[in-house]
Amino acid sequence: MTPGEPLIRWDWVLSHLGDVGQRLGEHLLLTGLAVGIGCLLSLVLAVQIIRRPRLYGPILGAAGVLYTIPSLALFALLVPITGLSLLTAQIGLVSYTLLFLIRNAVDGVRYVPADVREAAIAMGYTPRQLLWRVELPLALPVIIAGIRVATVSTIGLTTVTALIGQGGLGYFILEGLQRFFSTPLIVGAVLSVALAVLADGALVLVQRWATPWARWSA
């Protein structure tokens, strides 16, 4: 950055509004896709764990290992195989959501009170009805808490996907770094933080709407 230049140049912001909108849209799409795929994958795996509790250790272990791989390293490893593609970005992003999503779904179901589960069985619920009508709905607050964590961290991680040419707000951060120009860097960083806060707030509203009973139970 050139000394004496202002931290943020509003004329650049105003002249790039279209760009900003496009990158914001890309960011949302990348995040939404990753969290969506992550949810589906996690649900499938969580249901397997609930049916066969022995799988808890191995599956959570694997998700934990994935989570600890630094994102830059993961993308670097994937690029030779899947190229600079959306697939590469999504493999990375989805991988990081799995730990929270699977663990919360399984734990949420495990926290279902024993008397509630027993009452359901005693009234003649089949194991499948028990899972889909009682256990998963009751785990919903914990599941949504997992989705919130996954969404916020994915929004942060998606800034890195600019490195493999998938756009998103990371594009501005990268541009700012390359050109020693602080304005796009700040725009990218601030917008991704704002997006995370808004997405988290939106999910809180979704949880209130989806689990109206939750505020009455201890």
């Binding site: 008397d115 027993e118 009234m123 003649g124 009805q129 009682v134 009973w213």
Partner: protein, 406 residues
């Protein structure tokens, strides 16, 4: 209070335990300790059978073998003569109501959805379900319009328990299993819920197996009471009065308590006690005539009746000093008035609180019938011990622990 067994409408099913033993754990061989030991017990259709005993006596395990939450290690459980192990398990459970402590309600469903659980599983049409839910809520004393849309978290303990009972009865099951359903509510609510259960039972005639550790609850609710002791052995299976009058062994005697005679008072009605003739006087009678009668009987006071023979209160000699006629204002002490259906326990309490230690028994219209003395209460208690029934007695002895066991 005093009820005969099996007086309800015939809609319940018979439940029978046939030499049932349950051992838990991997090593459930014949040597392992049993949770339930060689239990044989028949609950006739429409009766309330209470399983009572200390913790670890196997009462809950026994209950759970009826709807196969627990499978017996040996023996069979029969529902209307049919082995439950041969029935499809979810179909069996949908035919058996189940109520547990705290209700076990689904927190994520409204009261209406909770109550509709089994009808929905059975695929009833929506309109019929809605109608049934409202009917059930009313039946258990909840206002449908106010309660329908609430979540269990918004209800009091007593309301939750009522919803639990309504849910269990939803599909008109011939059998209901209740596992300490009133254990978590305060004593006043508990007593009200017990009374409501008796009322519902009289109306519906469902067979009920009820687990509790509270002997008073057992005596109040049970047509028959099964006392279980540690190791899952049946110590005695008898109607409450017989249990109190003739405990089968030392364990039962200790479990029903040293005050078992007082408990029996709760099961005998005033109408079953012998009545004494009291010296009486009537409103409008000359005081002099009453005075003479009092002197002749040697009693300390007369009972004053109104023109319709209803007791007004006691007149001691001092109240008869005037020369006029007797009026209601002359009464010096309130009489303990006892309607015929009142339990002797409550009658005794009223007599002890009264200034004159004799109760005044009236008929349903409130007319004087006779006096109830403390001696008469004792006599009624002696007479209320049911006669020895040789077959029933033998069965109870067979079921009891072998001699020498604690």
């Amino acid at each position: 209070m005093a009820r005969g067994p099996g007086q309800a409408a015939g809609h319940g099913a018979a439940v029978e335990f046939e030499r049932v033993t349950k051992r838990f754990g991997r090593d459930a061989g014949p040597g392992a300790p049993a949770a339930v030991h060689d239990l044989s017990l028949r609950v006739p259709p429409g009766e309330i059978c209470v399983l009572v005993g200390p913790s670890g006596c196997g009462k809950t395990t026994s209950l759970r073998m009826v709807n196969r939450l627990v499978e017996p290690t040996e023996g069979r459980v029969l529902l209307d003569g049919q082995d439950v192990a041969q029935m499809e398990v979810t179909a069996l459970r949908r035919r058996i109501g189940y109520v547990i402590q705290q209700g076990g309600l689904f927190p994520h469903q409204t009261v209406a959805q909770n109550v509709a659980t089994v009808p929905r599983l059975l695929g009833w049409p929506e309109a019929r379900i809605r109608e049934r839910v409202d009917q059930l809520l009313t039946l258990v004393g909840l206002e449908p319009a106010r309660m329908r849309a609430r979540y269990p978290g918004q209800l009091s303990g007593g309301e939750r328990q009522r919803v639990g009972v309504a849910r269990a009865m939803a599909a008109e099951p011939p059998v209901m299993l209740m596992d300490e359903p009133f254990g978590a509510v305060d004593p006043i609510v508990r007593e009200r819920l017990q009374d409501e259960l008796l009322r519902l039972h009289q109306a519906l005639g469902t067979t009920i197996l009820f687990v509790t550790h509270d002997i008073d609850e057992a005596i109040k609710l049970g047509d028959r009471v099964a006392v279980l002791q540690e190791g899952g052995r049946l110590a005695q299976y008898a109607p409450p009065l017989e249990l109190l009058a003739r405990p089968a062994n030392e364990f039962v005697a200790r479990f029903v308590g040293a005050d078992r005679s007082l408990k029996r008072l709760a099961l005998v009605a005033v109408a079953d006690a012998p009545l004494a003739d009291l010296p009486i006087a009537r409103v409008g009678e000359p005081a002099s005539a009453a005075r003479a009668r009092l002197a002749a009987t040697g009693a300390a006071q007369l009972l004053l009746l109104d023109v319709a023979d209803r007791p007004l209160g006691w007149l001691p000699a001092a109240a008869l000093a005037s020369d006029g006629t007797l009026a209601a204002e002359d009464v010096r002490a309130v009489a303990a008035v006892l309607p015929p259906e009142l339990a002797l326990r409550d009658a005794l309490a009223r007599v002890l609180e009264s200034a004159v230690p004799t109760g005044v028994v009236v008929d349903t219209a409130g007319r004087y019938r006779g006096g109830l003395t403390l001696d008469a209460i004792a006599a009624a208690l002696r007479a209320a011990a049911p006669p020895l029934d040789p077959s029933g007695e033998a069965a109870a002895r067979d079921a009891a622990v072998p001699a020498g066991a604690p």
